[in-house]
């Protein structure tokens, strides 16, 4: 088991280098003239060229990639073109907000989605299943930011229950995290229902029933345990969608997280800041997927067995 974990953890380094290469590569496609952005339209051509070469932007892309990685190893992601502040600091200031938002949302999504999915599968074609599946389909088809707007209209405007923007108190996080969680909950519910339907048709479930076990035990001990395995992976993948969604939702609710920072930086053509934010979120997602993989190894006896010999 330790060998599997070690193997997965060691893979982090090359994966990270590859992610940096991809993000850095994409950002290098920009018609790159950072000095012109920094010095403004009135700067002389000489000054622009001088600053570009000071910043190292006259080097080929691969050389810049190596420089970037070396600097990154020291926690240096360069300076923002606009605020001239350190990219890394700007991100770490806002990162906890985004992590809080995403973590609360995925927990809410799982807590809502899994039980509803199981129940819908156990009572296939019942009223609950039909309405539940239809509602989930509707929720999954709704753009998250529009759902957020409708939630603001209902809970902030009509009912006056919750604040509609900012992130000062925990109450400020309720609407944004629900907005993020509901479409994901719908996806998880639909997926849980499908795997559960497949599982309860398996022979070993029939065997368990034939042995005379109570229906509750059959569902929970035999079916659910097996059906939940793929759900863990999907919840991990959904976390990635959620981080992407956070970009939009933070903008909608004016939450000062990494997502809002990335959008503001794109509008300002602030390449180092965009690169830094994208890398940070991608790295965070990679860690989550790593955790999911390791968790999976512990709960799936098939992987456990392969590495125990």
């Amino acid at each position: 088991m330790g060998r599997y974990v070690l193997k997965r953890v060691l893979l982090v380094v090359p994966t990270l280098l590859a992610i940096i290469f991809i993000v850095f590569g994409i950002m290098s496609l920009t018609p790159n003239n950072p000095a012109a952005v920094m010095l403004g339209p009135r700067a002389s051509a000489d000054a622009v060229a001088k600053l570009n070469s000071e910043l190292g932007y006259d080097k080929p892309m691969l050389a810049r990639y190596v420089d970037y990685v070396m600097n990154l190893a020291r926690g240096d992601m360069g300076k923002s073109y606009n605020s001239r502040r350190e990219v890394f600091k700007e991100i770490t200031l806002r990162f906890p907000t985004t992590v809080k938002l995403a973590t609360v949302s995925i927990l809410v999504a799982v807590v809502i989605g899994v039980p509803l999915g199981v129940f819908a599968a156990v009572r296939q074609y019942s009223v609950f299943d039909v309405t539940g599946t239809a509602a989930a389909m509707f929720m999954a088809s709704m753009p998250g930011f529009w759902f957020g707007m409708m939630a603001i209209l209902l809970f902030s405007l009509k009912l006056g229950l919750l604040p509609s923007y900012g992130s000062k108190t925990p109450a400020h996080l309720i609407l944004p995290s629900l907005t993020l969680a509901i479409p994901v909950a719908a996806t998880i519910m639909r997926f849980t229902r499908t795997t559960m339907l497949e599982t309860i048709r398996q022979d070993y479930v029939r065997t368990a029933r034939a042995k005379g076990q109570t229906e509750g035990r059959v569902i929970i001990n035999h079916a659910l345990k097996n059906a939940l395995l793929p759900v863990v992976t999907v919840a991990g993948m959904e976390f990635g969608w959620l981080l992407g969604g956070a970009v939009v939702i933070e903008t909608l609710f004016s939450i000062n997280g990494v997502g809002k920072l990335i959008i503001d930086s794109i509008h300002k053509k602030d390449v180092p800041q965009v690169t830094g934010c994208a890398l940070f979120l991608a790295f965070f997602f990679m860690l989550v997927m790593l955790a999911v993989d390791i968790l999976y190894a512990y709960i799936d006896p098939r992987i456990k067995a392969r590495y125990q010999r």
């Binding site: 994966t15 992610i19 994409i26 950002m27 496609l29 753009p143 969608w241």
Partner: protein, 270 residues
């Protein structure tokens, strides 16, 4: 598919939206969607303006109807091109296996470490904002997902006897892939394609909402929501109708995709 009532409803809704996109000019003239009329700003829904008017006095119904064009065009063309690229990559990986498979799969696995929306945003950030760049970004960001589906669909077919037979007869690889493998692997690919039209339409709207996509004054659902956002507390009709349009479109393609999947996957039937 005929027996599945939900997917028929989806097909119906989608046909209505498609028809209104195609016939937009006959339903309501484009000028109603573009001409500013300062004496008719923020009007609530009424007989002359069924969905009300926006901050420039433009008819929201006309903007929603004409906005269907760009949304559908964007969604469907992103899927079409993305699936073609993903198809070529996935088919090569699945059919040839070995080194081709290893390289393609490793590269795409790494790209998938970057969340979809983030990847698309990074591409837009680098290419610059605008409708064409949003289209390119969404298309490219989706390629790894298509490749994965197509690769696994192909892998299920490649081991079968009739492929071996074709190989033994000396049929060239490209012909085997096009004539024998793809037609048999197409089921899951169609399901994935249908479902992802919805994802693409929502993502494109999100991009416009963030100010990356279609620039005003062209009517587009996402940018209408973005415009309406600041006024929605006073004039909620400005955001309700464009959002409904996005949701209904995505819902209709998801319903169709679901029906197709049920029809193609016997495991889920009773």
């Amino acid at each position: 598919m005929k027996r599945n009532r939900a997917s028929m409803v989806g097909l119906f809704i989608f046909s209505v939206i498609l028809a209104s996109a195609v016939l937009a000019d006959f339903i309501v003239p484009m000028s109603a969607a573009l001409d500013q009329n300062m004496s008719e700003r923020y009007l609530p829904p009424s007989r002359p303006h069924p969905f009300g008017t926006d901050l420039y006095g433009r008819d929201i119904f006309a903007r929603v109807v004409h906005g269907a064009r760009s949304s559908l065009l964007l969604g469907m063309s992103a899927v079409a091109v993305g699936i073609t690229i993903g198809g070529i990559l996935g088919a090569s990986a699945g059919y040839f296996g070995g080194a081709a498979d290893a390289v393609i799969s490793r590269v795409l696995d790494t790209i998938m470490c970057v969340p979809f929306m983030l990847l698309a945003l990074a591409i837009v950030a680098s290419l610059g904002t605008g409708i064409v760049n949003v289209l390119i970004a969404l298309m490219l960001a989706m390629v790894p997902y298509y490749t994965r589906v197509i690769r696994s669909a192909i892998l299920n077919i490649v081991g079968m006897d009739f492929i071996e037979a074709a190989k033994a007869c000396g049929v060239p690889s490209y012909r085997i892939i096009l004539r024998h493998v793809l037609p048999n692997a197409i089921g899951p690919v169609i399901v994935q394609a249908t479902m992802s039209v919805g994802t693409m339409i929502i993502s494109a709207a999100a991009m416009s909402f963030l100010g990356m996509g279609i620039q005003p004054p062209s009517p587009e659902w996402g940018s209408m929501l973005s415009e309406g956002k600041d006024y929605m507390l006073k004039y909620p009709h400005m955001v309700i109708f464009p959002g409904m349009a996005i949701t209904l479109t995505a819902l209709s393609v998801n319903l169709m995709g679901d029906g197709l999947r049920d029809a193609l996957d016997p495991k889920l039937r009773d």
